[in-house]
Symmetry: C2
Subunit: 346 residues, 2 copies
């Protein structure tokens, strides 16, 4: 069972043509006669030929590979992002190299280097916390198109696609204020990230706009995870002047906040309003259904991939900074349903 690799030369022999003709058939050229094309295809089938993309890439100095590196695949937001990318990338005939950095700069350096060595023709990156412009420099001046998603890096000369965190947070807080809340907390997330910064500013600006006095005590950072949400809400409820509502850094935190609330015998939605951020797939089916700022991770992945593909095709593309708009999806966790019921009864 020693498998000799079948090459174009083998099938050229079998079909009685030259290797050049076989190559032409392989790339679907219209130059080749119908009859010979059929012969060649038959030989390909018979010998079980497998195209060697590596050899082709070597000759053409370009690959059909795009890389995607995310900072936490365990977070379903990023998993969905990857799925979105995959969908468009596949149907464009590319294949996806996916790597997970687990938020580690060192790992990120390694995987990016590895992708370069494999000759990816473009890269979609959700950078790990603490990534600097210098980390991307080698990439950009070797001319590989890069699209940053989710997190931007100030000063980096590459395209980016981030959601409108500021506007989303404002919309959420305005909604809470309209429902009569005054003590509104901002819970979860690492304060040293750009995303936190943007969402928190949106939160603040909405408060200022309506003349509500905020307080730094109501801004409580934590890991951007479910567990982080639990601890953040616990801390919030220890405050002398307790909040009655919270905008959470993301949906994972929001779920944690709901958990923490229930642990204190408070029903999220009824006794305390919770709004998340991202609209992950579980947000809709959770109980209570989570009111959240919809970011559509899968759609973002698709748009990022399309942007990247465009740049690859263009050869040399101007960096483009897209901020993807965002909308508040009102469900039950902010008390909307309850309010509505009350209105009907009144």
């Amino acid at each position: 069972m020693v498998k000799e690799r079948v090459t174009v030369i083998d099938i050229a022999h079998a079909a009685g043509v030259s290797k050049s003709t076989v190559s032409l058939v392989l790339q679907g050229s219209s130059l080749v006669n119908e009859a010979t094309r059929a012969k060649v295809n038959a030989a390909i089938r018979d010998l079980g030929y497998v195209y060697n993309r590596g050899a082709a890439n070597l000759r053409q100095a370009k690959s059909k590979i795009i890389g995607i590196v995310v900072n936490d695949l365990t977070n379903s937001f990023f998993a969905e992002l990857a799925v979105g990318v995959d969908a468009v990338v596949q149907s464009a005939g590319f294949v996806q190299f996916l790597a997970n950095t687990g938020e580690k700069i060192e790992r990120q350096r390694e995987v990016v280097a590895s992708m370069r060595e494999h000759g990816v023709s473009g890269l979609i990156v959700s950078p790990a916390r603490g990534t600097e412009v210098a980390d991307l420099a080698p990439l950009v001046d070797s001319g590989i198109p890069v699209v940053l998603v989710v997190r931007d890096i100030a000063g980096a000369d590459v395209s980016s696609l981030i959601s409108d965190n500021h506007a989303g947070a404002m919309a959420a807080v305005r909604h809470l204020i309209e429902r009569g809340h005054q003590r509104i907390a901002f819970l979860g997330g690492f304060p040293d990230t750009a995303v936190f910064e943007a969402r928190m500013r949106g939160y603040r600006d909405a408060l200022i706009e309506t003349g509500i006095a905020g307080s730094d005590a109501l801004i409580i950072g934590s890991a951007p995870s479910r567990a982080g949400g639990v601890t953040a809400v616990e801390q919030a409820m220890m405050l002398a002047d307790r909040p009655t509502a919270a905008l959470c850094f993301n949906d994972a935190v929001a779920f944690g906040v709901c958990d923490g609330l229930r642990a204190r015998r408070l029903e999220p939605g009824a006794d305390f309003a919770v709004i998340g951020f991202d609209d992950v797939i579980e947000a809709k089916t959770a109980v209570p259904a989570l009111t959240t700022v919809s970011v559509d991770p899968q759609g973002m992945g698709q748009r990022a991939a399309e942007l990247l593909l465009k740049q690859i095709k263009a050869g040399k593309a101007e960096p483009e900074a897209i901020v993807s708009s965002v909308r508040l999806v009102v469900r039950q966790s902010c008390g909307a349903a309850v309010e509505r019921k009350r209105e009907v009864l009144a």
Copy 2:
């Protein structure tokens, strides 16, 4: 800014040695003198050389790529599986091609073909529903090591790593019976899959073993998702003789079941016992914390990767069928905490 590719020849010139020597340095050969090694490395750094793995693969007829294809990356079980694979694969100096089939056979065919063309040296596959032996045949007889994870394919001549679904389900149901439950449902999952089959048999066998009369009405299939769990429990609660406990097909279903229960003003854990399967990352922090059969997806990914790597190294490896043992993690959703409290009080 026209970037000429820097090759070994360029750095050979710069360092005043031959390309062969450069190649030797690149692969860390001990044959080369310390001084020249230093010179070469300096040149590599100065010229910004990037190793061309494609060219190397072509010459060596082997790559450092392993492929992983999963059927649903959106499900965090598989995302974690991929993370586990990634971890060991990376540290073995390989890189991971990840593709998502979204449970579509056609897509699976495409991605597997694509991976072959890219010369992956091994493949980890969680096959889409309905995958047949024939789908894997071309792979196995071209000698590419394949490891099936999560789902097995009867008659396929490849290694597999699946969890002990039967034993896990039995343990869960026994636990429920010990707590005094008699009407136990099996909720969620597609009945035409091997995994469903195995878990359901475990459920049945535990019932039989203890002489409890089961009923097919208590076995309710659904999509293996949170939404599926909601509908399954709704259906279960319409039964004349309602169950008081349920083993769920997986954790996603279990969460859905909890949601559905709460929608009927029943508290999971207190009013109705719920056990999941998989032990995804959220199971621990959910409220109530989910009692579940721990499968450790990340660990499974690691073991699968190790198995694959072993086979790649061995060149020609015997198919190995590993069933990975599994343990019941008792948390709150099955009422354990409540029971314990009661015992203490008594």
